[in-house]
Amino acid sequence: MLKFFEFPKSLKNTRFHYCPGCHHSIAHRLLCEVIDELGIQDKSLGIASIGCSCFLYFYIDVDIVEAPHGRACAAATGAKRARPDLVVFTYQGDGDFASIGFNESFHTALRGEKITAIMINNTVYGMTGGQASPTTVPGQKTTTTPEGKDPQYLGYPPKIAEILATLESVAFSARVALNTPKRIIDARKAIKNAFLAQINNLGFGYVEILSACPINWKMDPVSANKHIDKLTEIFPLGIFKDKVSESLKSKKGD
Amino acid sequence: MKLELIISGFGGQGVLFAGNLIAQASMIANYNVTYLPVYGPEMRGGTCNCTVIISKKSIASPIVARPSFLIIMNYPSFIKFVPKLKKAGSAIINSDFVKPENIEDFEKLEKKYKFYFIPVSSLAESLNTPLLANLCAIGAFYQITKVFNRKQFEKALKEILSKGKAHLFEPNLKAFELGAQYIKKNYKI
């Protein structure tokens, strides 16, 4: 019998703790599908971060170590430098990657560490109860911007995927979303390329995933899913850097 | 035997190099040694000094309040360290920068201590290597103390001059010899 769809091998058969309508679970699944497709389950090392996804190790069936808040990319650097044969990835939120850990994230990209970083951008601190993060959009109400985020006071959200794309040693940088089937397929491709960036020794691979957080957005799952479309006006979807496809093409050409 | 040496001069007179070299040669001569440079702001331009302790027994403190031997490369160092010299201590003094006639109560000091005046700066200049006044002073130190022998000194010098500086070996050795000869000629040891 031909199977088109099966449970990913590297996804543990555990019930997710995520809230209804949260996109973490889809992202987890895509990550596992890519790990399976690339056949890297037994040589992967994941770096869990602090945020809703801190329990990564309960779901993803690979070796995982937990890093302090924001320091996942630094820990990934150490692991990869110590063991270049491993496939090392981080899985972080926007607060972790772009706020407290921005320096570590940026410099890891700057050095072109052969790691893959996945950043879940849901524009809030989810785990701590919906406080404003750097990627909180103008006007967005959070528990620490009760009147809505005033950009005159707090600035505008950073476009991390575009910023990282400007760095010479970043091999892949993309922003994807998970609110439609097509976008999910695109996201899977992007995650795969972000892994191929490290596997082919091309440089730092980065995927930013716009992700719904219905609870902290005070929305039902369906509205939250729709709201992602609005976010794409501020955080455009797309591939901003892709040395991977170039490299694969030239390899095929040879 | 225990010798507590302080070398002091302007930054740039090779004070730290000299301390390091004496320590290295003394180690080769099978002594226990410590070499403690004073570092920090004093390193640039100001008075620069280091402490070298050479001893048959193991050395506890690397610093001394009262040294038994001094190498004085300039006048401020004379003022700073000679009053701290141990009873009957010795000092090699750069006579190009420190003149007995400029020193208060020189006769008194001379009775208390053994001074060796040697124009290390002009000796080094006479060899066209003005930067090697420190080596002339080490030559004098060798001639006076004989803590290490010539062979041991040469070995130390070779070890300290890294690969890129091997061509400096001969000039350094010449300055060393000139310093040693000056003491031999002018002082009874």
Partner: protein
């Protein structure tokens, strides 16, 4: 083969010790007065197939160390006081994850930016836990180049033995001073890591290292496990002691000032005074039992004098060990004032005089 004797700075001795223990990765950020270590490692580690990486901050360096150690690789970082403060977050995580990391602090003057002179102002930070939660380093305090070499190498073994971060606590004097070092071949034991290291789940189930325990019972068990480990470290207590039963003054000092204190004690003994000398080499665990034994064996009432290059920190551990059975006197020397042996001698004599006057 004849063992080589070389004249090296204390910081170079530390680096050589790490190489002797086959340290494979070094991560660090520049700060005076320990820069000779990263500079040495930048030259030497790549030659031996190792990794040298200058991090963007101490914060990054300590987490790079965390990542490298999680893979079971021998790795280290070095810094000086303000840089160590930045690493404190990482220390807590490394201890919680039970990673065998080696951290060197070449102490300088503080607080704040302080200065670059020698200091022992980070004793509390090193010994009492420099981060949140109940955790400890095993702290080793060398006092000369030979010990710096041997203890640093040993630190890698102890780190693996206890799966715990080890701190080498040195200072600017020990770091910048040159001394002969005998490059002995050392026997540094390697402990198996295949039951915990994250090396990719090949031929075994995947595993993870975490410090988050939202289940209160699990967190308690974790803490008790660590507590037991810290108790077990008592077996590796190290100290140097030169005490006779006749002594009524015991000078207790560690690191660079222990050398100056030792000189003072030796001088006094030559003059016929009964003065003893005790030097803790492991600062955590603190050699409490040996101090208690000294008190038990003493024929006269004892006074402990604790000179430190700070305002009085280790004295608290001496007091805890003494348990009120002897008086303990602090000789504080805050940064920049490094006492000559004669000054310590004078202070010891003062105490001796007060002892004899009490008898009258």
């Amino acid at each position: 083969m004849k063992t080589k004797k070389i004249l090296v700075k204390g910081v170079e001795a530390i680096a050589l010790g790490a190489l002797e223990a086959e340290c494979k990765c070094y991560f660090g950020y520049p700060i005076t007065p320990q820069n000779d270590i990263p500079e040495f490692m930048a030259r030497e580690l790549p030659k031996r197939g190792g990794v040298f990486l200058q991090a963007e901050s101490e914060l990054a360096a300590i987490n790079m160390l965390l990542g490298a150690c999680a893979t079971g690789t021998r790795a280290m970082t070095t810094s000086s006081s303000p840089g160590i403060s930045l690493m404190c977050e990482g220390f807590s995580y490394i201890a919680a994850l039970e990673l065998p990391a080696v951290i060197v602090n070449v102490m300088r003057g503080g607080p704040g930016l302080g200065g670059i002179e020698a200091s022992q102002g980070d004793y509390f930070q090193a010994v009492k836990g420099s981060g949140h939660g109940d955790f400890h380093f095993l702290v080793l305090a060398p006092y000369n180049a030979q010990e710096a070499y041997e203890l640093t190498a040993k630190a890698f073994e102890l780190a693996e033995k206890y799966r715990n971060p080890i701190m080498i606590l040195s200072d600017a004097i020990l770091g910048q001073m040159k001394e002969p070092l005998v490059l002995k071949k050392l026997k540094i034991k390697k402990y198996p890591k295949d039951d915990w290291a994250l090396t990719g789940a090949k031929g075994r189930p995947s595993r993870f290292l975490r410090s988050l325990f939202l289940d209160a019972q699990e967190l308690k068990e974790m803490n008790i496990k660590l507590m037991k480990k810290y108790k077990a470290m008592q077996k590796d207590i190290k100290f140097e002691s030169d005490i006779s039963e006749e002594d009524n003054i015991i000078v207790v000092a560690f690191g660079s000032i222990a050398r100056i204190a030792k000189e003072a004690v030796n001088n006094l003994r030559e003059k016929g005074y009964s003065v003893g000398y005790f030097r803790p080499i492991t600062l955590f665990p603190f050699p409490e039992k040996p101090i208690k034994k000294i008190i038990e064996k003493a024929k006269k009432p004892l006074k402990f004098i604790v000179p430190e290059l700070n305002c009085g920190q280790m004295i608290e551990d001496v007091r805890l060990a003494v348990e009120g059975r002897a008086s303990v006197i602090s000789l504080p020397y805050p940064p920049s004032v490094i006492p000559f042996p004669e000054e310590i001698e004078k202070e010891i004599k003062k105490c001796l005089n007060s002892l004899s006057s009490r008898k009258v």
